[in-house]
Each structure stands twice: as structure tokens, then as C-alpha cells.
């Protein structure tokens, strides 16, 4: 059908336009700061340096998980800023557990994954319970729980740290070799973590649950009109709790690919800030499973190229942060522009059909 084609066109046009807007705005910033614009974009368009391509894929997978975790909340107007805290607490717990090697080989991995999801869900559950029983805004409680997560994890880390001679790193005990997850792909310069597959699985599950299940319907209904959802029999309290738990469970997986693919322990050097990037990725992707994938790749690509920026264009790597920030703004603008443009095309089509003497009037 023609309308399907147009929908795809619209879906593709918006992100492309967003990129274009971001490029223009960033160029203006560069010019204003007296930097050469050409070399910067050249760097972004050049093939990633050695090993960077693999890092981009790994990074994207993790950002995707984080983006989905945020999107689950967004779908019912819950602003889960707490993904950051949730994934760190979960990663710590999973690493601690897996490090003990209580379970053999792959079972150990499964156990750790389940534990990570449970811990992430539990940490998010605190937010949900506060909201449902005390009416505390999830924004406030999740920000506070992020700080608490930082404190609790570093305190516990200090307590259980696997002290090694000659190193001042604090981290959990290393996961036994038998429980390392083999790479999905091994290249000369790096690897793609085995557990990046989680991103694909979670993406499919998200798409299916949101669009094809009763639960997904209730979630979307609550997000688009709480009053109508209540009248239709949805218990908003129950939905808030369930959505928050699910969001937290997915957040719990964010740290896993890195943990089982490369770090093998959780410590003070483990990656942070993924939860906040997830918010941006979900915004860029408009909570759509494919859109979030696109957002995650874009975000990871910009991250990946930022080192080259310093070396090859002589521009501070933090320019990437500006571009990323501008991206999020540009997305908002682009979607609005594309929406209007789409409407105009539609109106023109109707006019053309009328002129051609096809059916007219409000009835069809």
C-alpha cells in the first residue's frame, strides 16, 4: 500500500533531517569558536581507527539496552532517570556473584544475568513503590537513588574488594575463565562481546510486548491518556510498578556484555554514565525499537570517533558532547518538520484525487 511506503519514508526522513540539522548547528559552533569546519567532518566521515569499529558496536549494544530501559518508562510517561544507578548496582551484584564461581561454566553466566535483572528491578522498584504509595515523583527519587547507588556500590566494593599486591584498583573477584562468554566475532584488532546478543533479544521482546500483547496495550494506553486508561480498567498503580520493574530489569543487563566479555570483574574503573546516554538514545529513537537502535549506533559512532578528533583535527574531543546534545534538540525539530511536510503532501494528494474526479466528501 502507498501509505506504508510513505510511513517508511517519514520514518527515515526524520532522523536524516535531524543529522543534517545537527551538522549545521555544530558547524556554526565550530566557526564561532574559530575552528576549521572541514577537518572535523572529515574525521567523522573517515573509517574508524584500528579497533574502534568493534568498540562502536559494543558500545551501541550497551546503549541500546539502556535506551530500551528508559523507553519502557517513557511509554507510560514515567521518567526513569535512575537507569544509571540501576545498572551499576546490578553489575556490581552480578560480578560479585559470578566471581564466586558457585555455579559451573555457563550456568554461572545465566545465574548472574538473572541476578542482574532482579537487582536492577529491585532498585527501580524502590522508585515505583515511593511513587505509588507516597506520590514521590520518579524523577526526584531516581536521581537520589543514583547517588545512593554510587555510595553503596563504592562502600561495598571497598568491603569485598579483591585486594591484589601491587595494584590500587578496587574490584570484585575475577569471574572464573570457564564463565567468560566467548566473543561473537573476533577481529585482528578487537572483539564483539558475546552478550551484545542481549540487545537484539531485548529489542525483539520490547517490540513484541509493546505492540502485540495486552500488557503493551495497557502500557501505551496509560501513557497516552491516564484517565482513559483508568476508565478502561487499567490499574495505574499496578502498571507503574510493573513498568518500573521491567525497566529496571532491562537496565540490569546494561553492564553485562562488558562484564562477561572483557572486564570479568566490577570495579572502580567500570564504565559509568550509560544510563544518562540511554535517555538521549531513547529520545532520538522516539521509543521505537528500531529508532533506538539507530540512536544507539549514532551515539556510539560519535563516541568512537571522538579520539580521532583530537589527533587528526586538533579539536577537543568534548566537541562530541556538543554534537550529541545538539542531536537531541535536532531530533525534536526534525520530527515536527517532517510531520508538517507529511501533512502537506497528504493534502496535495487528496486535492489531486479530487481534481481527477475520484470520490469526494467526508464519507468513504
Amino acid at each position: 500500500m502507498n501509505s506504508t511506503l510513505r510511513r517508511i519514508g517519514v520514518a527515515v526522513a526524520a532522523p536524516l533531517l535531524a543529522i543534517a540539522i545537527a551538522v549545521v548547528l555544530t558547524s556554526i559552533v565550530l566557526l564561532a569558536l574559530g575552528n576549521a569546519v572541514g577537518p572535523v567532518w572529515q574525521v567523522f566521515l573517515s573509517t574508524p581507527m584500528q579497533g574502534v569499529a568493534e568498540a562502536i558496536v559494543n558500545d551501541a549494544a550497551v546503549l541500546y539496552l539502556s535506551g530500551i530501559a528508559v523507553a519502557i518508562g517513557f511509554r507510560m510517561n514515567l521518567f526513569n532517570i535512575g537507569v544509571d544507578g540501576q545498572y551499576r548496582v546490578a553489575a556490581f551484584a552480578a560480578a560479585l556473584f559470578a566471581g564466586q564461581g558457585w555455579l559451573p561454566g555457563f550456568l554461572n553466566v545465566i545465574g548472574a544475568l538473572v541476578l542482574a535483572m532482579l537487582v536492577g528491578a529491585a532498585w527501580a522498584g524502590i522508585i515505583a513503590v515511593l511513587k505509588v504509595t507516597r506520590g514521590v515523583s520518579e524523577v526526584i527519587s531516581s536521581i537520589m537513588l543514583n547517588s545512593i547507588a554510587t555510595g553503596v556500590v563504592s562502600w561495598l566494593l571497598f568491603k569485598v574488594a579483591d585486594k591484589q599486591e601491587g595494584s590500587n584498583a578496587t574490584n570484585t573477584k575475577n569471574i572464573p575463565e570457564s564463565s567468560h562468554v566467548p566473543a561473537l566475532a573476533q577481529t585482528a584488532t578487537g572483539q564483539i562481546f558475546g552478550l551484545t546478543i542481549l540487545a537484539v533479544l531485548v529489542g525483539i521482546a520490547y517490540w513484541y510486548v509493546i505492540n502485540h500483547t495486552r500488557f503493551g496495550f495497557d502500557l501505551r494506553a496509560t501513557g497516552s491518556s491516564e484517565s482513559a486508561a483508568v476508565a478502561s480498567g487499567v490499574s495505574v498503580k499496578k502498571m507503574t510498578i510493573t513498568a518500573m520493574l521491567l525497566s529496571g530489569a532491562v537496565a540490569g543487563l546494561v553492564g553485562m556484555p562488558q562484564l562477561f566479555g572483557q572486564d570479568f570483574n566490577y570495579g572502580s574503573n567500570s564504565q559509568t554514565g550509560l544510563g544518562f546516554a540511554g535517555i538521549a538514545v531513547a529520545l532520538i529513537g522516539r521509543n521505537h525499537p528500531i529508532g533506538i537502535g539507530f540512536g544507539a549506533l549514532l551515539w556510539a559512532y560519535l563516541n568512537g570517533q571522538s579520539n580521532a578528533l583530537q589527533i587528526n583535527a586538533g579539536v577537543n574531543a568534548s566537541l562530541v558532547n556538543i554534537i550529541q546534545g545538539v542531536m537531541v534538540l535536532a531530533v525534536v525539530i526534525a520530527y515536527e518538520l517532517v510531520r508538517r511536510w507529511d501533512k502537506r503532501i497528504e493534502a496535495r494528494r487528496v486535492a489531486a484525487e479530487l481534481a481527477a474526479g475520484k470520490t469526494a466528501g467526508a464519507t468513504a
Binding site: R214, G216, V350, A351, A360, G361, A362, A364
Partner: protein, 544 residues
């Protein structure tokens, strides 16, 4: 009631029943306040306005009538700058204008009151009025004086220091009108202003409008109630399928002729019918009390109500006297502080909303936008809403979109929902067509009890009689209906029993066959103080 003319020719443009066919493009006498010429507006899949003409003489009241989806609201939104026409010109007081937002329209002296009021509950009248117009008269005593001045000039009876939350529907509407006048509007547009009002309030509103007219203001309003239209308007423009069909002097047409112009069929007339009331009790409400969480007088006090199979129980009352609370208590959205609600053998008092709706309680809420629709979702998803766990929406935990779509198509056809397709969003349907969809959805699940608040609000005369017929058919099959309505014709024509709700209390029973509008009106406003003075007993007494 029935629609007599079944051999209608809906395409026949004008001239039904020998009404003089006016040339719609010829200017009426007097200077024109509004002159819309050749307006065309297209939406995806639909032409809402097609080469439309509208001319309104200054200092007159002008009504716009037409079927659901005819394009009335769209035309008014164009005149108010909410929407831009694809083609055509707008002239205000002779000058051609182009509005890109309501701000421009207000500058040109055009103001609009929407059907859905847009007042902030927790602010005072004064604050609501000055919000966004602080530059005009400030926010202090000057503003207060101006509000008083306008209120007195048109008899609006608006008190600036009242909280909006404490106001009834009629008063809220007057605040909305005042808000528009405060901003300097000389041309006032009202979209279905009377749909939410009871007859007394309608009379008051029309009094206000006449006052405005005598002060030289121009009023445009949309209504489906043709008797009212003829009572207050000077001229009437009839729109059908997006084009102007006719402009008539209200003194020269009958409501019947108007209806024929609109839809090509005749006005439904109430018609007494064989009673289908049985003695099987379907819904029994006993001593239901609902306290006011804010500590005021009880919202519902000791309410008793019985509905039998095959019975329509009508509840009359000025809006805000507990109707919404009663409905929400039955549906489990509020919890009664005392009392029980029993449907057949089920005590549903403590059931969650979902269980209630799935167990045969159909629900038509009074505010369709807030409670019955997801405006941004397609029609077929709205078909699922409220019945998510039932077929055809789902099987087990899986949605079944295919079945839902098929059933939506069926509803669209059976209930004459005018839409280009079932994939458009519910928000893009005209008000009346949204209502038809909701009604169709609820009836599709063969309810035991139908709780219907204003089931035909915003619905045109043709569709209204169709909905009434559907209710009657279902009643014959044993459906019990709780009908809440502001439309006395509907109450009297449909109900087997009428009761009046006033400040959370129910009166005794009225017999719709003998009760008069005056008696109901008096009971609704509490004019006859000794309670239940005009109930069945009193009626019998009076008859003696």
C-alpha cells in the same frame, strides 16, 4: 420515535419541503461581520470543507447546523485561526485577513469558546480570565473592575473571586465567554454551547447572547438542537458534507424543514411505546454514600436505585449534582463509603473497574475525550479500549489486531461512523462520530447494564434517533439502562422511569408519560422545597 422519511435523497441539495431556496452567495442585508468565501480544508482522506460560504451580518446571532462530520467545527476553527484553510478568503468587517494563530484572530476581534472548557480548576475566575492577558488591564483591581463591567453589561453574573472548581457547568461556560469578551472579541464563536446545559441554563445562555447582540456584538454558534436554534438565531446556515447547502431566516423555517435540509430525513419525534419493563431486578443500588474527600457535603448520600431488565431509568439533573460520581462509583473508579451495588447476583461494590466492565456493564462516559478514547490512537485500537481482555481485542495475553480491525469496520458501518478509514486517529473524527464509535463499541459486548451518560451528546438528529432505536432494541432484549442526560426530550422519550438528582440525593420517581419539563426543571433546581413534591404521588394528586 421514528424517522418518517425513509425515501430521502441525501444528495438533494436544497428545496426540500418547499423552503425558498436562497442564493447562498448573495449578501444578507446589513454590514457583514464575517464573510467566508470559498473555504476549502482537507485532512488526510477527507475534505472537511469544500468551497464553503458563510456570511454573517453584524449584530446578529447566526447558527450553523449540519450532520456530524459536516465540517462545522473545522470551519469555526478556521475562522478562529486554529486551522489554516487550504483555499478561500476570510473577511472580517470587510477586511481580508489571514490568521496564523488564535492570537491573530483575537486581535481582529474574533473569539471562540470550545466545547471542552479550558479553565484551570484551582484558580479563581479572575486568575483564569487574566491568564495570558495580563497586559490588558493588569491582574489587580483594574482587571476585577473590567470583569465586573463585562459581567454586568451582558448579564453574565460572573464573580471574579470564586474558585472555578466550585462552579457548575453553566457558570464555567459564562466564564469562558467572559474570558473571550475580556480580550476584546466583537465576534463570538460558540461550538455546541448548549450540549452540556439543562434547559434552564440554555435559556439563561440565550438571554446572555441576546444581550450581546443588542450591544452590537455578533454571535456564531453550532448546535444540533434545532428548536433552540430557531428560538435564538436570526439566520441559520446549513452545512452538508463540507459545503453550504442553504442560508435561511430562522423565522421562515420549521425544525422539521431544517432537519430535512441537514440530513434529508426528518426530525425524530418521541413516540410512546409498549413498556418492556419486567420485574426482574438487574441492578440494585442500596444506600450508596460517597463522602467528599475535600470535606464538603457528601457527594452522594444514601442513594437507592433499582433498574429492572428491559427498563431505562433516566436521571435528570443539573450537571455537577453527583451524576459523574454515581457513574464512577458504579464503575469502580470511586469507592463508596457505604452501601452496595449489586448486578443480578454479583455484588460489584468492591470489584475493580476492569472486572466490572468485563462482566457486562457497558459504559458511555460523559467526557469522551478524557474517559472513552485514546485520541492519538487509530479507531481500531480505540475499539479495544475498555475491552482489552475480551475478544475481539485479544486472545489470552496476545492482542488480535486483525479481529479488532474487522470488528471496527463492522461498527463503523452498523453505527454510521463517518470516517475515511479505521486507521485514522480517534482525534480526527468529528465529535458526533466519536460518540457513535463509543456507543457501538459498548453495545458490541452485549451488556447486561448500560451506564450511559449523555449517549447522544453532540450527535446529529439522524444519528440520535438511530442511537435511540438501538437502545430500545436492546431494552426489548432485556437490557437495563441507567440513562443520564441533560436533554429532557431524550429523558422523557426514552425512560420508563425518571428520577432527579440534586446535591447528591435522588428524588422519588416521575412518570415520563405525564411529567412536564417544568416539573422536572423545578425538581432539578430544587425550586419546590418540600422534597419529592412533584413525584408520582404529587402528579396523581394534581391530576385529581
Amino acid at each position: 420515535m421514528c424517522v418518517i422519511d425513509t425515501t430521502d435523497t441525501p444528495e438533494a441539495p436544497t428545496g426540500v419541503s418547499g423552503i425558498a431556496v436562497a442564493d447562498v452567495t448573495a449578501p444578507p442585508s446589513g454590514a457583514l461581520a464575517v464573510d467566508l468565501d470559498g473555504i476549502t480544508k482537507r485532512f488526510p482522506g477527507v475534505v472537511a470543507n469544500k468551497d464553503l460560504h458563510l456570511q454573517v451580518a453584524r449584530g446578529t446571532i447566526h447558527a450553523i447546523v449540519g450532520e456530524n462530520g459536516a465540517g462545522k467545527s473545522t470551519l469555526m476553527k478556521i475562522l478562529y485561526g486554529v486551522q489554516k484553510p487550504d483555499e478561500g478568503t476570510i473577511r472580517i468587517n470587510g477586511d481580508e485577513v489571514s490568521f496564523s494563530s488564535p492570537k491573530d484572530a483575537i486581535k481582529a476581534g474574533v473569539g471562540m469558546v470550545f466545547q471542552h472548557f479550558m479553565l484551570a480548576d484551582n484558580l479563581t475566575v479572575l486568575e483564569n480570565v487574566v491568564l495570558g492577558a495580563e497586559k490588558l488591564h493588569g491582574i489587580g483591581s483594574k482587571a476585577r473592575d473590567e470583569i465586573k463591567r463585562i459581567s454586568d453589561a451582558y448579564g453574565l453574573d460572573v464573580r471574579p473571586e470564586m474558585m472555578v472548581a466550585d462552579l457548575g457547568v453553566g457558570a464555567r461556560q459564562r466564564v469562558e465567554i467572559l474570558k473571550v469578551l475580556y480580550r476584546g472579541a466583537k465576534i463570538l464563536i460558540l461550538d455546541e454551547p448548549t450540549a452540556v446545559l439543562v434547559p434552564q441554563e440554555v435559556d439563561e445562555l440565550f438571554g446572555n447572547l441576546k444581550e450581546m447582540k443588542s450591544e452590537g456584538l455578533t454571535v456564531l454558534f453550532i448546535s444540533h438542537k434545532l428548536d433552540e436554534v430557531r428560538g435564538v438565531a436570526d439566520d441559520i446556515t446549513v452545512i452538508r458534507r463540507g459545503t453550504t447547502i442553504d442560508r435561511v431566516k430562522s423565522s421562515s423555517v420549521t425544525s422539521k424543514q431544517l432537519a430535512e435540509l441537514m440530513v434529508g430525513s426528518q426530525l425524530p419525534t418521541p413516540e410512546t411505546q409498549e413498556s418492556t419493563v419486567t420485574d426482574r431486578v438487574v441492578m440494585q443500588i442500596t444506600d450508596v454514600t460517597l463522602a467528599d474527600p475535600a470535606g464538603g457535603p457528601a457527594l452522594l448520600s444514601d442513594l437507592d436505585l433499582t433498574i429492572h431488565a428491559g427498563e431505562v431509568l433516566g436521571i435528570a439533573g443539573v450537571e455537577g449534582n453527583g451524576q459523574a460520581e454515581l457513574v464512577e462509583t458504579i464503575l469502580g473508579m470511586r469507592r463508596a463509603d457505604a452501601g452496595t451495588v449489586v448486578v443480578e447476583n454479583d455484588d460489584i461494590t468492591a470489584w475493580p473497574t476492569r472486572r466490572i466492565r468485563e462482566n457486562g456493564i457497558g459504559y458511555i462516559p460523559e467526557d469522551r475525550h478524557r474517559h472513552a478514547l485514546l485520541l492519538g490512537a487509530p479507531l481500531w485500537e480505540n475499539r479495544m479500549l475498555g475491552h482489552q481482555r475480551q475478544e475481539p481485542a485479544s486472545k489470552g495475553w496476545r492482542l488480535t489486531p486483525k479481529a479488532a480491525k474487522d470488528d471496527t469496520q463492522r461498527i463503523v458501518e452498523a453505527y454510521d461512523v463517518r470516517t475515511p478509514s479505521i486507521d485514522v486517529t480517534a482525534g480526527s473524527l468529528s465529535g458526533g462520530n466519536q460518540q457513535k464509535l463509543i456507543f457501538g463499541r459498548e453495545m458490541s459486548h452485549a451488556p447486561r447494564v448500560l451506564v450511559a451518560a449523555h449517549p447522544t451528546r453532540g450527535v446529529d438528529v439522524g444519528a440520535q434517533s438511530a442511537i435511540w432505536d438501538h437502545i430500545k432494541d436492546a431494552r426489548r432484549e432485556g437490557l437495563a439502562v441507567l440513562l443520564i442526560s441533560a436533554d429532557l426530550d431524550e429523558l422523557i422519550g426514552l425512560s420508563d422511569t425518571i428520577r432527579v438528582i440534586l446535591r447528591g440525593k435522588l428524588s422519588g420517581e416521575f412518570d415520563p408519560k405525564t411529567v412536564t419539563a417544568e416539573q422536572l426543571g423545578a425538581a432539578m433546581t430544587g425550586a419546590n422545597t418540600p422534597e419529592n413534591a412533584t413525584t408520582v404521588d404529587a402528579q396523581e394528586e394534581a391530576a385529581r
